[in-house]
Point group: D3
Chain length 247, copies 6
C-alpha cells in the first residue's frame, strides 16, 4: 500500500509566473509522454507481474516515485498561475492580466475548470487516456515500453527546458531530466539481465519459432515501385540480432 | 512525496477464479465511478488547493489511500484470471477453458493486451479518461464532487457484491464499501464545517448575488405543455435552503 | 415528447463580437461542466427513473429547460463570431481580421469545421463526451451528481462573467448563473425530502450495513509517514453524519 | 426554447424483456448512427444557421423530434431490463437471472453504472462523442451529412428489427424506421430546392472554381500498379454531374 | 497490397514558414473532415465490400490516393515549422522565435511531442478517432457518407486557402480542392448508376417497406407550440423523392 | 505517393467462420498494439524525418507494408463473418445463427454498424485513437517506440494464434508473427547503427548532460518504507549502460 509526507521529492519554485508555461507543463502531467502515464504504467505492470519478485518490486519502487513527479509538476502549474492569487479568484473584477492570460495562450480550462490549477490533461487540454498504460504481461515487451516512455518523456522535458528562462523551472526540470536518464538505464538493465537481445528476441520468446513463417522472419521487404534500391544497412545483411537467422 | 510497502491495505483472496468477474472489477478500477478517478481527483484537489492547509492535508491522506484501493482491485483481477497460470500463458496450446473464457464473457483485452491482468479501463474496455478528475478550485464544489464519486462508487461496489458468490471477493468488497461509507461522511463533514448549506450556497458564494438575475434565482420553471401541474415539493414553496430567498 | 418555439428562454445579445470569448463559451456548451451534459444527465435520469413519479417529472422539467440553455449559448457563440458575416464566409479574400481571429486565440474549428458557429465541444476543442452523463439508478447519488454539476457549472459561468466586458454577455450570464443557483437548491431540496443525511446515508442505503466491514466505516485513515498528526476536524471525532456511528 | 409533455411520441412496449437486446438498443441511442447524434446535429445546424429562415426552422422542428426518439429508446432499454425490478435492485441476493444477464451478454454498465437503465453510450459502452455532430456552416454539406445520418441510422434500425422477435420492439422500430424514411427525403428535398447537383456542386460552391487546379477536377485517378484497367463507370466518362466539366 | 515511391502526388512548397498555419493544417490531416479519415473510410469500405467488384476496385483506387494526401499535408506541416531546423531542435538555446511560436498560436505538441512535425491529430490537438470511419455495409449509405466527407473536406480546404497568403500553400490547396471536386462527383455518380434517388431510397432499400409504419413515412412532423405554421417546401407537399409516396 | 494492386500480401483463408474470432481480430486492426497504429506511426515518422534519408526511406517501406497487414486482417474479419452472406444481410428474417452470433460474443457493431465487416476499432469496440502514433522527432526514441509496438504486436498475434483452431487463420498469423520478428530486428538494427546504448543514451543525447542534476542520473531510488532492502540487480551497481556513470 501507499504512504505520503508533505515534502516534494525536489524543490519546486517559480520566480516569474508564466501562465503560458503552465499550459506547456500539462504535457508532462497528462500527455502521452507524461508522468501520470508512467506512474500508472509501472504500477499496473507490478500489479500484474507473475515473474521474478525482483522486477515486481522494482516496478513498485519506481511507479511510486513517479507519483511524486506528477505532484511536482502540478505544483509547478499552480505556481505559474499565481498572480491571480486564490483569494481573488472568484470575486475579482475584470482585470486585464488575468483576462489576457486566459484569452491569450494559457489553457483556458486551467482557469475555467480548475480555478488556476493543473488538470489531468495534456498541453492541448486532451484528457489523460488510460489506453497508454502499457502492461502487456510480457516483461521484455514492457521494458521496451518503459524505455520508450522515458525516452519520449526526457525529450519532452528537455524541450520544456528550452521554453523557459525561469531559474526555478530550469532547476526542477534538470532534476526530472536526470531521473529520466536513470529510468532509461534501469529498464535497459533489466533487458541485459534477461540475456540482452539474444536472450529476449523475438518477443515474446515463448512462442515456438518453428510455427512462424520463418522464411520471412529475417527478410527486409521493399514496397517501392520506382526501381530505386531499398536502403541498405545493418537490417539488410549479416546475422540477425537474436543470433537465430541471417538478414 | 510518496512511499509504499509490499502489503495490501486489506487482504485480497479469491477462492474460485472467475474471468467474467475480472471484467466486472474493471469498472471499479478504470470506470467513471472507479478508484483511479478518486485517487487522481483527491490528489489534484490537494495539489491545487489554495485554502486552509487542513483540507489540503486531508485530501492528500485520502488520495493516497485510494492508490491502495486500485492496487487491491488490480490484484483481484489477476487472481480471478488465474488458472491460466503465468508460465503457461504464451506457450499453451489451444485449451478450451482459456479460449472459452476469452471468447465468452471476460474482457478479451485482459488476455490479448495484458496477458491475464488488469487494464486501466472500465468494464467495457473504455480507457480511463482524465476528464473525470474534478478539481474545480472551489472547495464546496469539490466536496460535492467527492460525495458524488463515493456515492456512485459505493453503488458500484454493492452491485459487484451482488454479482459474486466468492467469499474472498465479498470480503474485499465489504472493506471497500465501508471505506466508501466513511469517505461520503468525510466530504460532507467538510461542508458542515464550512457552514452547511447556509454557509456554502450558492456555490461559488464569492460571486456577488446582486449581479445575478435574482428574480429567477429561487423559482421552479416548468416546461410542460400538457396543462398538467408541475410536481410540488420542497423545491416549489417555502424558504430557500440557503436562507436567502423564497421558492 | 418534446416541443419548441422560436423564442430563446432569455435574451441573447452581443454588443462587441469577440471571437476569443466565443471559444470560452464552448466550455459552457460542451465542457464537463456544461449544458449539454446537464441536459442529457437530467433527461437520462428521468428516463431511467423507477422511483416516485414526482422526481421523474421534475427531472423532465429541468432537463428540458437545459436544452434552452444550450440554445442560448450556441446563439451567443454565433453572435460573437459575427463580423465575418455569413454571406462573406466562403468567398472572402484573405482579410486580416478573420485570419487574425482564427490564428490568434479563437477556436480554429469554429471557423474551419463550423463556418463561424458553435461546436459540441469544450473550450479546448475536446468533443462532448457522454460518459459524464451520470444517471446511477440511485436517486440520492444522482441528486449529489446534479448538485456537483450545477456547482461546477455556476463556478464556470461566474468565471466567464469575469472574462467579458460586454453588457449583453454579462446579462445573459447573470440569467444562467441565477438558474444554476435555483438548480443547486432544487436537487438539495430533494435530498431534504428524502430525509437529509440521516435519511440517505450511506448511499446506497439499501445495502445492509452489517455486511460492510463496519469497524472501518467511520474511521479516518492516515497514510502519512512523517510522524505529523493528521488534520482533525468534524470528520475525526464526534457522531457520524448519518447518526449511525462515531468517528 | 423547448417544452415537453409526459407522452412518448409513439408507444413503447416490451412483451419479453431481453437484457441482451437492451445492449443492442444502445447503438441507436449513443452510437455514431444514433439519435443523440441527430438530435444535436440538427439543433446545432439550426443554431448556427445564417441562411434562409425556412431551413433553420425545419432543422429546429426535426431536431426537436429526435429528442423524443432518444426518449423512446431509453424507455425501451429500461423495459428490456425489467425483471430486475427497481425495488429489488440494490438489496437482492445473488440471483441467477440477474447475474447471468450481467455476466452473459448485456452491457454490464447498464447494471453497474446505471442500475438497469440506459446510458449515453453505444452498444460497446463507448460514450457518445460530440465530434460526430456535423454542422459545417454550409447548407448543402450539412444536408448530405443529414442524409448520411438517416441512411446509416435506418440501416441500424432495420438490423435491430432483425435481431428481435418481440412484437412491441418490432412495432416501435417500424415507427422509427418510417421516420428515417421521411427524414432521408426531407434533407434530399432541400438539396433539390437548392438546385440539385447542378445547383450545389462542387460544395462549397462559393469558392471560385478558377482557383482550383481544374485540370484534375473531373479526372479519375488510378493508383493501380498491376496493369489492370481501372473500373469504368459513370465517373470515368461523360459530362460531370454539375454540368461544368467532362470526366 | 500497397506500394510507394518517393514522389509526392503534387508539389508541396512553402515560401514563408508559418507555425500557426502548421496548426491549421492539422485539421486536414487528423480532423473529422481530414485525409486520414477518408483514406481509412474508403479502404475499409473496399475491404468489407460484398457487392459488385467494380465499386470495391474504385474504393481501393481512391483510398490509396488519399494516403498521398496525408503525405502531402504532413510534409506541408514540417515545412511550415522550418526555421527551427532539425539540427538545432534539441540543443538550441532559448531563442525567441521558437519560444514565441510554441507559446503563441502553434500547436505546442508539434514541438513538444513531435519535434516540429505533424501529428495524427486535429487543429486542437484532439487525436484522430477511428469512429469516423463510416463503412456501413450498405453501398448507398456509404456513398452519401463519402459525399459528406468530401463536401466538409472541401469546405475545410477552401477555408484553409483563405487563411494563407503563401503561394506554395495556395497552390497545394488548389490541387487538393480540385481532387475533392472530383471525389464528390465520383460518389454521386455511383448513386446515379444505382438508379438515383428512385433506385436507392429509402436506404437500405432491402427492408420491406410494408413493415414500416407507412402512414408516417412521408409526413413532415412539426413540434412547434407557438401556433406558427411550419415551413413549407419541397418536403411538405408533392410526390416523394423515391416516387413511392406523397408528402 | 502510394499505389496498390488487388493481391493480398499473403493468403487469407478461413475454413470455419467464427464471429467471435472476428471480434478478437479487431484488436490487431484498431487496437493500441494493432496494424493501423504501426502503419501511421512509421509513415508519420518518415514524413517528419529530418535526419539521414536512409532511415526515412526505410520507414516509408515498412509503413507501406503495414497497410497491407490492415488489409489482410480486415479481409479475415469479413471472412469470419460469412454465413450471413451479403445478399441476405438486410432482408433476412430472424434466424438464430445470426442473432446468436450478434448477441453472444461477437462485436455487435460488426453487424449493426458495418453489416458484417471490420471496424477501425479494437476488440472492445473502442475506436482507433491517433494519440498512439508516436513520432517524436528523435530517431532513437522512435526506434524504441517501434520495437515496443512490434513486441506488443507480436505478443498479441501469438495470443490470437492460441485462440483459433482454424488452419487458415493460423497460417495467416504465422506470417504476421514472422513479419513482427523481422520488424523488431529492424528497429533494433538502427539503434545498433546509431552506436548502440553508448551511442544513443541518454535519449535525447543532444541535451548537454552537465545541465541535468547529475548526482541523481545514475542512482536507483527506493520509496519503500518497510525497511526491506530494495531489489538489487544490474541497475543498482556497476557501470551505467551508456558508459557515462556508475550506478
Ligand atoms: Ca518521471
Ligand atoms: Ca475507494
Ligand atoms: Ca443550465
Ligand atoms: Ca430518429
Ligand atoms: Ca483528399
Ligand atoms: Ca505488422
Amino acid at each position: 500500500m501507499f504512504y505520503h509526507d508533505k515534502k516534494l521529492q525536489y524543490t519546486v519554485r517559480v520566480e516569474t509566473p508564466d501562465p503560458r508555461f503552465a499550459r506547456m507543463l500539462q504535457q508532462a502531467i497528462g500527455g502521452v509522454e507524461g508522468e501520470i502515464r508512467v506512474m500508472l504504467q509501472y504500477l499496473f505492470q507490478a500489479w500484474g507481474a507473475r515473474g521474478p519478485a525482483k522486477y515486481r518490486d522494482m516496478l513498485l519502487e519506481t511507479g511510486t516515485e513517479e507519483i511524486a513527479h506528477v505532484e511536482m509538476l502540478a505544483t509547478a502549474v499552480a505556481m505559474n498561475l499565481e498572480g491571480a492569487p486564490g483569494s481573488m479568484q472568484e470575486q475579482m473584477a475584470k482585470q486585464n492580466p488575468l483576462v489576457e492570460a486566459v484569452m491569450g495562450g494559457m489553457d483556458p480550462r486551467q482557469y475555467l475548470s480548475a480555478g488556476m490549477a493543473a488538470l489531468a490533461s495534456d498541453a492541448n487540454g486532451v484528457p489523460f487516456d488510460g489506453s497508454h498504460v502499457y502492461a502487456s504481461g510480457n516483461l521484455a515487451a514492457d521494458m521496451y515500453a518503459n524505455v520508450t516512455a522515458e525516452a519520449t518523456g526526457r525529450a519532452l522535458a528537455t524541450r520544456l527546458y528550452h521554453l523557459t528562462d525561469d531559474p526555478g523551472m530550469k532547476d526542477m526540470l534538470s532534476f526530472l531530466i536526470a531521473r529520466d536518464t536513470m529510468h532509461q538505464q534501469q529498464w535497459l538493465a533489466v533487458l541485459e539481465e534477461l540475456g540482452g537481445q539474444q536472450g529476449v528476441l523475438p518477443i515474446p520468446n515463448s512462442f515456438p519459432q518453428e510455427k512462424e513463417k520463418q522464411d520471412v522472419s529475417y527478410a527486409f521487404f521493399s514496397t517501392a515501385v520506382d526501381g530505386i534500391e531499398p536502403p541498405s544497412g545493418r537490417f539488410t545483411s549479416g546475422p540477425s540480432l537474436d543470433g537465430k537467422g541471417e538478414f
